[in-house]
């Protein structure tokens, strides 16, 4: 029988209104490669009262929660949220998706949730005195507290990704440093938390509500202690989780935005000056969390154009963009690889030599797929985060024609 939690999930995500039209399947990046996979079938299974069979199936973990289906659903079914809640119910019955990376990513999140040992996670600052930050709680050689509006730079798991994915060339720590430089250039001296925990995005979307709640509790306490007015992140997943899921559970929580929004607004208002030079072509990957989940499409493009790049779009972009193939570190399969390779093909077809992303995970996944392609002798495409391109321009300084 369908439990109360599942009945609520069906009702609150409008899944009862599913018309079985199949548009979700037609738009689903996974269904293109995975025979028999369909978002609609998950709904159908529960409506038919086949809860146990639905919760046990692998398909539940193949969904990318990328929301491409929600863009076309005529009934407004919130399929992403539906899948998230069904995963939580499945996890209660001890079902879980196939883990990736030896379970290392989930393990460090659970260790952070345990909170037994304080982390030592500020090495990325690299003793660079030119980076203006306020570390919370105050360290020995702390400068004065930040004046006026206090902005928290939520670093996320970048220092950890540097260790685990450094071999792919992911410059995670450099991205964090350059994000601070950009904030400094905007006149913001951000607060960084010495014992910041993972925002919990991945565990939440894996259905692990209990560990998510512990991470949320720890971060909420730190944010309150540090008297933060607003939060800026470089990771769209942190931005989504802190902007939507934290306030939904806590009632009140400081507003959170992605750094690209802050920078694009400053550019528009003339508070950020970028040296505009003819820079050639780039193409842009809309991360599913920044794009469809948060509705931010223009900010990163405006910054790239502000730098003098010409943004050429892939066949699928904006609301119709394709995902990078894996989300929440669950289920990295041949289908994930096929989605990544399809996306990289689209990027190459634009003629741009650089695929710019705004999400560390898109970057990790594309670099991984490219490392595989490079072994097969295919042409290379550079993958880079937008913040490094903006930072390179800050180095050049001044304003050119």
């Amino acid at each position: 029988m369908t439990s109360e939690a599942l009945r609520t999930a069906l009702a609150e995500t409008r899944a009862y209104f599913c018309l079985s039209c199949g548009k979700c399947t037609a738009s689903c990046p996974v269904a293109r490669w995975e025979e028999g996979f369909s978002p609609r079938r998950l709904v159908e299974g529960l409506l038919a009262g086949e809860a146990e069979a639905t919760l046990a199936q692998d398909a539940l973990w193949q969904c990318l929660t990328c929301l491409r289906c929600e863009m076309v659903c005529p009934s407004g079914v919130r399929l992403g949220e539906f899948v998230r809640r069904v995963r939580a119910a499945a996890r209660e019955r001890a079902f879980a998706g196939p883990c990736t990376h030896g379970g290392a990513v989930e393990a460090w999140r659970r260790l952070m949730a345990q909170g037994g040992r304080p982390q030592s996670r500020l090495r990325w600052l690299g003793g660079d005195a030119s980076l203006q930050v306020e570390v919370w709680p105050p360290q020995e050689e702390a400068g004065p507290p930040a004046e006026g509006e206090r902005t928290l730079f939520f670093v996320g798991c970048l220092p950890y990704y540097q260790v685990l994915f450094g071999d792919l060339g992911v410059p995670a720590e450099e991205m964090a440093r350059q994000a601070v430089r950009l904030l400094n250039a905007l006149g913001i001296r951000p607060v960084v938390l010495a014992d910041e925990r993972c925002c919990g995005h991945d565990l939440l979307w894996q259905g692990d509500e209990a560990t998510f709640a512990r991470l949320l509790g720890a971060n909420a306490r730190l944010v309150a202690e540090a008297r933060v007015d607003r939060i800026v992140t470089l990771c769209p997943e942190c931005a989504l989780t802190l902007a939507k899921d934290y306030p939904a559970r806590l009632g009140a929580f400081p507003p959170a935005v992605h750094l690209s929004e802050v920078a694009a607004q400053a550019l528009q208002e003339g508070r950020l000056t970028l040296p505009r030079r003819a820079q050639g072509l780039v193409t842009y990957q809309d991360p599913c969390r920044l794009g469809r989940h948060l509705g931010v499409y223009e900010a990163p493009r405006a910054l790239l154009e502000g730098l003098g790049y010409t943004v050429v779009e892939m066949a699928h972009h904006g609301k119709g963009a394709l995902c990078c193939g894996t989300s929440a570190w669950v289920n990295c399969t041949a289908t994930s690889k096929a989605i990544q390779e399809e996306r990289l093909r689209e990027a190459q077809e634009t003629g741009a030599p650089v695929l710019v992303t705004a999400c560390p995970k898109c970057q990790i996944h594309f670099r991984c797929a490219l490392a595989g392609k490079a072994r097969g002798g295919e042409p290379r495409l550079a993958v880079q985060d937008w913040v490094l391109l903006v930072a390179a321009a800050l180095d050049q300084g001044g304003e050119d024609a």
């Binding site: 290392a104 460090w108 030592s120 950890y160």
Partner: protein, 142 residues
């Protein structure tokens, strides 16, 4: 605390690592701390995720015990373990695990003393980090 002895998980390979633990066991040697051996075929299999899971389960220290580089039965294991050990150490350091509490020891079958020495150091360091823990027999090997 029911058992305040430092818990050291020893991931050891089928070959030199296992041989040494066998030798110590046959000699009835008391290992420093509370050693929990886990056998893997080769340390090349030691994804950092396994190290983190051991920490999550409450290990105070992790010792990876394997063959000298030139003696890997599988050829590539020694190379693999270098990268994975570096990752495990890096992640453990970020998580606040003191340096030296995640260790790799490559030993020939006759080098049991080195293993005892490493375990003693790790057990002592764990106890120093937990001053309120009940005093237990620690430190020196034999």
């Amino acid at each position: 605390m029911e058992n305040a002895e430092p818990r050291i998980v020893i991931f050891h390979c089928n070959w030199a690592g296992r041989h040494i633990l066998d030798t110590l066991g046959r000699g009835r040697t008391r290992l420093p701390g509370r050693a929990l051996p886990v056998q893997v075929s080769c340390l090349g299999r030691m994804h950092p995720g396994l190290v983190l899971k051991a920490l999550e389960a409450g290990a105070d220290g992790i010792l990876l015990l394997g063959c000298p580089e030139e003696a890997c039965r599988y050829g590539v294991g020694a190379e693999k373990v270098d990268q994975r050990y570096a990752e495990a150490q890096g992640l453990a350091a970020l998580l606040g695990v003191p340096a030296g509490q995640v260790r790799l020891l490559r030993v020939a079958p006759g080098e049991a003393e080195e293993v005892l020495h490493a375990l003693a150091e790790m057990a002592a360091a764990s106890q120093a980090a937990q001053p309120q823990a009940e005093a237990v027999q620690g430190g020196g090997a034999q």
